[in-house]
Symmetry: C2
Subunit: 103 residues, 2 copies
DNA sequence: ACTTACGGTAAGTCATTGCTTACGATTCGT
DNA sequence: ACGAATCGTAAGCAATGACTTACCGTAAGT
């Protein structure tokens, strides 16, 4: 039941930028913040939110900390949306059928 | 490129409750607000946000307005997450491979 | 050992947003 | 035609959250 935190975390545009930067593979905090307009502490705070939401994993590597996308967290959100998608389609088909019958 | 608005709209817990109420089929505003703790205008405002995000459709029916989940809006979000999912899995596999080779 | 690099945390500020009450517009029932 | 019902919008308020600067701990390099 962690998809709520995940969707809240992904609602922020800056956090989606961070996620996009990690699509190709793990990165250290400095590498993520480099080129972004906000300060490095701000990036740290976003990374904290994303990690708490289960969307990122952290692996300390010497001096630095490597962040990577956690497939499990993304999957939780996917499952929620798939369920919503199924129900929406069923309701849509039923509504269309009722309308055709009524008309 | 409308998935950003969709994910922002779904980030609010109250709006997810509204969406859940519409899973079974279209409902009027009063029916949605009935039993909820917030006022009806607040529900109207949420419905506005969800509609603007492409997640709901409105069909006026006499005195009332029937809101229903828009499958297209949900699908846009699904596609974004599927893409993210694919990249996350690839990056994960690559990282595991590099680690195995390096170790 | 001392300095430098890396990154998390704290405190404070400002904008965003979700809620309420009040009001107006449209449609149904009689 | 008139009163009631349904619903959207405006204005105002309080809470949440994203950002900044300042600070502290830990690991690497010399």
């Amino acid at each position: 039941m962690t998809y709520q935190h995940a969707i809240t975390a992904l609602a922020d545009p800056t956090r989606r930028v961070i996620i996009d930067r990690l699509r190709a593979g793990p990165l250290a905090v400095g590498a993520i913040a480099n080129g972004m307009e906000i300060s490095r502490p701000a990036v740290s705070q976003h990374l904290r939110v994303l990690s708490d939401a289960g969307l990122l994993t952290v692996t300390p590597s010497g001096n630095r900390r490597l962040y990577a996308i956690a497939p499990d967290g993304v999957d939780a959100l996917r499952k929620y949306l798939d369920s919503l998608w199924d129900d929406a389609l069923s309701a849509f088909a039923r509504a269309a059928h009722e309308k055709a019958k009524g008309q």
